[in-house]
Amino acid sequence: MGIIYLMLIVSFVIAIIFLLGFFWATKNGQFDDDYAPSVRILFEDEENEISNTKTKSNGNRKV
């Protein structure tokens, strides 16, 4: 039956990891804007296409 204790603790630890993940995401502004990212993801492809023909742009997309 000792395995149950282990399982309980493991489940607890995993849940805490997810909770911390959620905190991290909130703090990072993942929930701030629910529209722009959905559009932004479509831009990247196009940018690559252009950069094939033109010199690569110095796009720096870091927050």
Binding site: M1, Y5, L8, F12, R40, K54, S57, V63
Partner: protein, 781 residues
């Protein structure tokens, strides 16, 4: 007749327009944006959404020079390192995916901008740019492509409330899920043979539940504690009693019997409550309801120091200073004009779109926009003491206890629970003394008005979204309540009932030939002056597009426009401009001459918005209506004839009169809803129980208010109010359901049959069904 539309902004192209690359453009501004974009390989802008552009506005080169004053610059820079500066700019024109595309690729137009990230919800762009680059240049580039940054409301502190709720929600959800998992065996009675494991999971649950009580639920407990301290009762009081009873009973169970008790219900309970709170806090982040005059006035102004022009912050302007205002700039303080004649556009202040002429030596109130040549003024009063800003300083909205109704309900609720608990307690005391405490505690647990607390945020939240889709944006969901309580509606006339963009235009003179009409349209369309726009709107429908071309176009600020079309010299403007003497001083008119021959004049009159008469007649069945106007009583007869139900018509009202009129109505016990548009209504909007600001463009300036209504939706106002009133019905149904749940729960509790399992089923069931119910009932609206 094929109507061409502008490839950039989608407006109709009038006359020949401008044609390059097989594409039509309505004006030079749009064309140059297109050229700028296509030469930088940003053609994708037009592929994402067609005609997505915004027509760039004419500005002067000095428009943003104030940003290079070090003190002012500092205010707008978030962060700066050795090579780059970071800033966050509010760009109200952001409206679609193409905008995001363009702004985030702006580095291809201007390499000194290193990156840009758009927050669509807030209409903000976070930009990183070269430290050497002046902030004014950044603003100019954005303005050139149609996104003029708004520097006015930097001071507004947006609360980060919604994030706190997310954290609390996360903690409660985590605890709810974990505890349910651990207590699952208990639901089926499997663990009875293994008390050690049972006890271990109970201790785990206890550990996890501590942050739920102390962090997630603290708001409810604090609010209830405060209410009791001040000897009043709100809904948080029965909620907190329920929470504490649940927690105490569970802790007792955990440490004395090694079972988890109701701790799962406790966590779930807090979780559902917080969902309601979070839902409630999701409001329109990009709209601002709290603006005061400072966000309307410029941040800085050019001051004359001897013969030197220096830029100073607005707070540093003193009485007697000489200041310079350029074309299209706003006068920030009451001042006397020392230059020659100019025109002042007071449309933001009064809603009146037609500019007024002011002569040298005249006293001019702050808030007017200068049309004409750059002029000098001598400051008479400091910005914060000007006539207009006094309104803000005077009004102190007496903060009413907003949820007085709910308080009554909570009181009844609490009394009912206590009575039931006492009766049940007394009964069980004689019947089975050992179970008395348990029964009383379980009554307090089950009577906790969780579903009741959820009905309001969800119903109001849903109604708010429905209204938002239809053009009425509320500040928060308490506004719904105040709309529902309205007995009197007060309308401002100019700019609210009448439009301020289109005027009724009459032409007086010889009848215009088709050819002449087309020439006039073409010329007027090249100008952004409000009167030119009105002329175009008025004449456009009657003509087909032609292939005339306009050359030598000139706009003389404050006077008129002229140009050469097919060899004819056309002039439109003031009587003086076309070489006439002005005969009628009282009317607003534009004179037209072709080849120096005066052919007539356009006369402008304000026009009621479409559907207004109908709307007012419908509203008058339910509410008492009042109209306050700053104008002379020229429309009096019209209103009295068309809308007989309006008995309270008041003309020549100053901003202060409007304010005191509403106050006096309130003293008579009326709940007043004020609808207005300009700065002169700001005081009245604030003092009214509900203030609705009407706006052609909801992201532009509007005075401080409880709600913003799209001007084009005003005719639907009665329907919007009906939707808002519908929330009462929904709420009552939700209340009924939650009371039924409570009664069912109570019947278990009173008879001593409440087990943790029943509580664990009943609690989420009631919460979820209330959420579903309020959503389903409002979704169809």
């Amino acid at each position: 007749m094929s109507q061409k539309s502008c490839y950039h902004c989608g407006d109709d192209v009038i006359g020949k327009g401008i044609n390059i690359d097989d594409k039509n453009f309505c004006c030079n501004g749009c064309k140059s944006v297109y050229q700028l974009l296509s030469s930088n390989n940003l053609g994708g802008f037009y592929n994402l959404e067609s005609q997505a552009g915004t027509r760039p506005k004419k500005g002067n080169n000095h428009q943003f020079s104030f940003l290079d004053v070090e003190d002012i610059r500092k205010k707008f820079i978030d962060f700066e390192d050795d090579t780059s500066s970071h800033t966050t700019l509010f760009l109200p024109q952001i409206h679609c995916s193409s905008c995001i595309y363009l702004l985030e690729n702006i580095h291809r137009i201007e390499p000194r901008i290193k990156s840009c990230q758009v927050n669509f919800v807030k209409r903000e762009a976070k930009m990183i740019f070269d430290k050497e680059m002046p902030l004014s240049e950044l603003a100019t580039i954005l303005s050139k492509i149609g996104y003029t940054p708004n520097f006015g409301n930097k001071k507004e502190q947006k609360k980060q409330q919604s994030k706190t709720y997310l954290y609390k929600l996360g903690v409660a959800g985590f605890a709810f899920g974990s505890i349910m998992l651990w207590t699952f065996p208990e639901y089926f009675g499997i663990e009875k043979t293994n008390p050690e494991i049972r006890q271990f999971s109970a201790y785990l649950a206890f550990i996890v539940s501590i942050p739920v009580l102390l962090y997630s639920a603290n708001e409810y407990l604090i609010s209830a504690f405060k209410a009791i301290k001040y000897r009043s009762i709100n809904l948080d009081v029965p909620i907190s009693i329920g929470i504490i009873a649940l927690y105490a009973e569970s802790v007792y169970q955990i440490f004395w019997f090694g079972s988890t008790g109701y701790i799962d219900s406790f966590a779930g309970f807090v979780f559902f409550l917080l969902i309601g709170k979070w839902f409630q806090s999701k409001t329109y982040q990009s709209l601002s309801f709290e603006r005061d005059y400072t966000s309307y006035f410029p941040v800085a102004v050019t001051k004359l120091d001897g013969s030197k022009e220096i830029i100073v912050e607005i707070d540093k302007v003193k009485i007697g200073d000489k200041i310079i205002i350029r074309n299209q700039e706003v006068l920030p303080c009451d001042a006397v004009l020392t230059s020659k004649e100019i025109k002042i556009d007071y449309s933001f202040v009064t809603g009146e779109s037609i500019p007024v002429t002011k002569k040298k030596g005249e006293f001019i109130y702050a808030g007017g926009k200068l049309l004409g040549k750059k002029s000098e003024f001598v400051v008479e009063k400091e910005s914060s003491r000007s006539h207009l800003t006094q309104l803000w300083n005077e009004v102190n909205k007496n903060e009413m206890t907003q949820d007085s109704k709910e308080d009554k309900l909570s009181t009844y609720f609490l009394v009912a629970i206590l009575v039931i608990a006492v009766i049940a307690g007394v009964y069980w005391f004689f019947f089975d003394q050992g179970r008395t405490v348990e029964i009383v505690v379980s009554i307090l647990i089950v009577a906790c008005p969780c579903a009741l607390a959820l009905s309001k945020p969800f119903t109001y939240g849903n109604i708010m979204r429905v209204l938002g889709r239809r053009g009425l944006y509320l500040k928060n969901n308490l506004v719904i309540e105040s709309i529902n309580d309205t007995t009197d509606i007060v309308f401002d006339k100019t700019g609210t009932l009448t439009t301020n963009s289109t005027n009724q235009v009459r032409f007086i003179g010889d009848e215009l030939s088709q050819n002449q009409t087309n020439q006039i349209i073409l010329l007027a369309n090249s100008s952004t002056h409000p009167l030119s726009i009105s002329i175009v709107k008025n004449l456009k429908n009657s003509t087909s597009t032609t292939n005339f071309e306009l050359v030598n176009f000139r706009e003389i600020e404050g006077k008129g426009i002229e140009g050469n079309i097919n060899g004819d010299i056309i002039k439109i403007g003031s009587s003086h401009f076309v070489g006439q003497t002005n005969l009628n001083k009282n009317e607003t008119s534009s004179h037209v001459s072709i080849n120096r021959k005066h052919i007539g004049r356009f006369v402008f009159q304000s026009e009621f918005r479409p559907g207004i008469v109908d709307l007012l007649n419908k509203l008058s069945l339910k509410y008492r209506l009042h109209i306050l106007s700053g104008d002379k009583d020229k429309d009096k007869n019209f209103i009295e004839k068309e809308i007989p139900a309006i008995s309270n018509l008041h003309f020549k009202q100053s901003p202060k009169d409007k304010l005191s009129y509403i106050s006096s109505l309130q003293e008579d016990g009326c709940n007043v809803l004020m609808i207005g548009d300009g700065l002169n209504d700001a005081g009245a909007l604030e003092v009214a129980n509900t203030g609705i600001a009407i706006s052609e463009d909801i992201f532009r300036f509007s005075p401080k208010s409880d709600a913003i209504l799209k001007a084009t939706k005003l005719y639907e106002l009665n329907k919007l109010f009906a939707t808002s009133n519908y929330s009462k019905t929904v709420l009552n149904i939700c209340y009924l359901f939650s009371i039924i749940y409570n009664l069912v729960g109570l019947s278990f509790a009173v008879t001593g049959n409440l087990t943790p399992l029943i509580a664990a089923i009943l609690m989420p069931l009631s919460s979820i069904s209330i959420v579903l119910l309020s959503t389903l009932l409002t979704i169809k609206k």
